[in-house]
């Protein structure tokens, strides 16, 4: 005859109460450490990297905004979970179980409030999106970027100011752009998908073979930053890195001229 065995096994005793408290404490650690990690992150230097673009602050602002909002939801829900675990523990809770099948009003409340919140986020962010991906500036392209396994080929218009002519200036993995100017890049790929990722400019765009995709931005500070390939493109994906140099118009032109001369010397 099989033995009946069940929850009764865990009936009240001292040890059990302590163990229960321990579990509740463990769940409490989640919000505490979760928040802690995010507070610590900026000090550890693993947080949004320095932003040197005109649109980046909007993205960072959105990130922070969503972080605060979801953070609040996170803390609230986790704390409620822990409090309920504490309050309604089998040992602690002397009241009879609240026999209920739910509440229509509550359901409405917790459908409508998140709905409104989410709708708000959705609408709130549209401008930033439009700025980066929809409102394309009406200027000739500053340069053409062609991704290929595993390098970035950059092509600047030569003295005639037109791309795809004989006097174009070619570089590899060495991206220079003038500061405080509207830049428009034509992004292409020769072989597979790549992704043109400038972390500090808050720019990311996949390069799709067969399409020319416009990318635009405006840099605000002089400096040197990473150009990362952010889409798996084969075994060498990890080493497909370029260098972005943001410099003054003058330096930029000097550099361009120098490159042009180097190129002519070779030919």
């Amino acid at each position: 005859m099989p033995v009946e065995f069940g929850p009764d096994e865990f009936k009240t005793n001292e040890r059990r109460t302590i163990v229960t408290r321990f579990w509740i404490f463990l769940f409490l650690l989640v919000p505490i450490l979760g928040v802690g990690v995010f507070l610590w992150a900026p000090y550890a230097g693993v947080y949004l990297p320095q932003d040197v673009s005109t649109h980046g602050h909007k993205i960072d602002h959105l990130f922070t905004f969503i972080l605060l909002l979801t953070g609040a939801v996170f803390i609230a829900t986790e704390v409620v979970l822990v409090v309920f675990m504490w309050r309604y523990d089998r040992e602690r809770n002397q009241d009879p179980v609240k026999f209920t099948h739910g509440s229509h009003n509550l359901e409405m409340v917790w459908t409508i409030i998140p709905a409104a919140t989410l709708l708000f986020i959705a609408i709130y962010q549209m401008n930033a999106w439009a700025e980066v991906k929809i409102d394309r500036p009406d200027i000739p392209p500053t340069l053409k970027v062609t991704a290929r396994q595993f390098e970035w080929r950059l092509q600047y218009p030569g003295p005639d100011g037109v791309l795809d002519t004989r006097d174009d200036i070619h570089t590899v993995n060495d991206l220079h752009i003038p500061v405080n100017e509207q830049i428009l890049i034509h992004l292409e790929s020769d072989d597979v998908l790549h992704s043109f990722f400038l972390p500090n400019l808050r720019i990311k765009q996949d390069a799709v073979p067969g399409s020319t995709i416009p990318v635009w931005f405006r840099a605000t500070e002089i400096g040197a930053f990473d150009l990362v390939c952010a889409e798996l493109c084969g075994w060498g994906h990890y080493k497909m890195k370029g260098r972005l140099t943001i410099e003054s118009r003058e330096d930029f032109e000097n550099w361009l001229e120098q490159k042009r001369q180097e190129q002519e010397a070779v030919q």
């Binding site: 099989p2 033995v3 065995f5 069940g6 929850p7 865990f10 463990l26 769940f27 989640v30 450490l33 979760g34 990690v37 550890a44 230097g45 693993v46 947080y47 949004l48 990297p49 959105l62 990130f63 969503i66 979801t70 996170f74 829900t77 409620v80 675990m85 309604y88 089998r90 179980v97 609240k98 209920t100 099948h101 739910g102 509440s103 509550l106 359901e107 917790w110 459908t111 989410l118 986020i121 959705a122 999106w129 991906k133 290929r148 396994q149 597979v192 998908l193 972390p199 808050r202 720019i203 799709v208 073979p209 995709i213 798996l232 493109c233 084969g234 075994w235 994906h237 080493k239 890195k241």
Partner: protein, 603 residues
């Protein structure tokens, strides 16, 4: 196809009364849903070890890139001097994700729990089509063999990520493994698809047609609702993936050009005549694979709902909203796939539409979370191992879900797309949620499966270690992502900017190793309890749903009485009875007939 279906049907009938059979038909080619469920369970646990070990290799490389792997390294890659090569790294995470998703989470939820629970919970003697059911299990083996065989072919296993983005995946010249390995991967997935398809139509038919008298749709346990809607999701989404997989196979084998544009130059070689669209693959793939992530969470949510109600000794809060939320997630799940493609060069206006839909999909999830909290409110919570895993599910799903909101916001996704933020999200929803629910489910239904209890102490240690090490491994990924740390890099420290993140990665790797070790405890518990676990009666947890009224383990035909259902599955602490539980089959006291029921139980 139709032949098997029809045969299966006839078979259902003939087999129901066959009590004896050879070893082969009883345990191997069994058509009993319980045996098939357990077969699925054990195979998927085995595959979980495979996927997990691949993950540990990934972690090893991320913590100590190009360092010799201790012991294993010398054995496996002596050619590279015991190191993981970048080619091999890409194969590692591709196969890790493919195994985990297609061979662990989906088959364990739909295959193992679906098979085991559906007939028991609706009061049927078996699935509608037992032979089809058996085939759906056996289709998994060719799939797995094809997949793993690819490690041993020229060029190695698939290495284009589990998303197999074209043209990397579809052009031979693009990657060493885009030779045979990728083709095997595709064929393997086609088999997985066939298996899921057979399961899906079978589950739908069974749930629609074979519920016990009195078991109306709104008296079904939420697990069954979730399984049902999962099956619907699969029925609509999977064929699209199958078509896409076939097209990629054709691109690779016959030289069609669906996903290959013209003029492709790889290593200064032209790659086929082309004429196709690389992004078409992404659309078709995510049309399946976004619903697929809900295929991987909905059954888990259903199971958790059952466990939470049982261990809070309280009816589920808002049963109908829960059902509608499941349906809502499924419905919305079909119109949000584009959120994986925000940066892909997709039409940016389309991106906005998908963003809006993605935001809205958080709503049904919110309803579910709040209803779970509502369920434990005012209850009498028993922190058994399954309950701990279930509450951890809720806790972790909140994190995983909320991180989804960041990515749904297109401008934020612009920055965090393809960074570790995504990897964090993936593992919070897939490991912290789905896998935790699976562990809980195993502890909860183990007594029903094997007639023995799993050891509670070991279970709690397993939970404690998993919980701590899981969060240790994956929580920090969020801030790594915020720091721009890209995913899928064989050596992230190739970039100066990421060098200072190496210590964090080492910490994560150590936690991952700890998590692996914690699973050893689980394995010991699982297999040890088969022999040493305490024997149990029918209803060890004093739960209400039908499976607990059947013997443990249930015999052939499941029930030794005709189940008749009088109420929903969550009537705990009902004022109508003295006991704190009220089985679905127990007739209401006023109407009498209790004796008759008792009789039925004593068979």
């Amino acid at each position: 196809m139709s032949a098997t279906i029809a045969h299966g049907h006839e078979g259902a009938h003939g087999d129901a009364h066959a009590h004896s059979g050879s070893f082969l038909t009883t345990y191997v080619f069994s058509r009993d849903h319980k045996v098939i469920g357990i077969q699925f369970l054990i195979s998927t646990l085995l595959w979980f070890v495979v996927g997990g070990l691949l993950a540990l290799a990934v972690r090893w490389q991320l913590a100590w890139p190009w360092a010799d792997m201790p012991i294993v390294g010398r054995m496996l890659f002596s050619a590279e001097g015991g190191q993981i090569s970048p080619e091999f790294y890409t194969m590692l995470f591709t196969m890790h994700a493919s195994v985990m998703i297609f061979f662990v989470i989906i088959p364990i939820l739909a295959g193992a729990f679906g098979n085991f629970l559906i007939p028991l919970m609706i009061g049927a003697e078996d699935m509608a089509f037992p032979t089809l059911n058996m085939l759906s299990y056996w289709a998994m083996w060719p799939a797995f063999i094809l997949m793993t065989a690819s490690f041993f072919v020229e060029g190695g296993a698939a290495s284009a990520g589990w998303t197999a983005y074209t043209p990397l995946a579809s052009v031979h010249q693009a990657a060493p493994a885009s030779g045979t390995g990728q083709t095997l991967w595709l064929l393997g997935l086609i088999f997985v698809g066939i298996s899921s398809m057979m399961g899906s139509v079978n589950y739908m038919t069974t749930i629609i047609q074979m519920r016990a008298p009195g078991m109306t749709m709104f008296r079904l346990p939420l697990t069954i609702w979730a399984m049902f809607i999962t099956a619907v999701l699969q029925a609509f989404a999977l064929p699209v993936l199958t078509a896409a997989l076939f097209m990629q196979v054709l691109d690779r084998v016959l030289g069609t050009g669906f996903f290959v544009p013209e003029g492709l130059m790889i290593n200064n070689e032209t790659a086929g005549a082309g004429g196709g669209q690389p992004l078409l693959w992404q659309h078709l793939f995510w049309f399946y694979s976004h619903p697929a992530v809900y295929i991987m969470i909905l059954p888990a949510m259903g199971m958790v709902s059952d466990m939470i109600a049982t261990f809070a000794r309280k009816p589920i809060f808002g049963y109908k909203p829960m059902v509608y939320a499941i349906a809502g997630i499924a419905g919305l799940g079909f119109i949000v796939w584009g959120h994986h493609m925000f940066m892909s060069g997709m039409n940016p206006y389309l991106g906005m539409t998908f963003m809006l839909a993605t935001m809205m999909i958080a709503l049904p999830s919110a309803i579910k979370v709040f209803n779970w909290l509502g369920t434990i409110w005012g209850g009498k919570i028993e922190l058994t191992t399954p309950m701990l895993f279930s509450l951890a599910f809720v806790s972790m799903f909140i994190i995983g879900g909320l991180s989804g909101i960041f990515m749904a916001a297109t401008p934020v996704d612009l920055f965090i797309h393809d960074t570790y933020f995504i990897v964090g999200h993936i593992h919070y929803v897939l490991f912290g949620s789905s896998a935790f629910a699976i562990f809980g489910g195993i502890y909860y239904w183990y007594p029903k499966m094997f007639g023995r209890m799993m050891n509670e102490t070991l279970g709690k240690i397993h939970f404690l270690l998993s919980f701590i090490f899981f969060n240790g491994t994956f929580f920090t990924m969020h801030i790594l992502g915020a720091g721009g740390f890209p995913r899928r890099l064989a050596d992230p420290y190739h970039y100066e900017a990421f060098k200072h993140m190496q210590p964090m990665n080492q910490f994560m790797t150590i936690c991952a190793l700890g998590m692996g070790a914690a699973q050893i405890i689980f394995a010991i518990n699982f297999f040890g309890s088969l022999f040493f676990g305490k024997r149990v009666g029918r209803n060890p947890w004093r739960a209400n749903s039908l499976e607990w009224q059947a013997p443990s383990p249930p015999g052939h035909g499941n029930f030794d009485f005709q189940p008749v259902v009088y109420r929903g599955p969550y009537e705990f602490n009902s004022p109508e009875v003295d006991e704190d539980y009220y089985p679905q089959t127990q007739p209401p006291p006023e109407k009498g007939g209790q004796e008759k029921q008792k009789e039925g139980e004593q068979h």
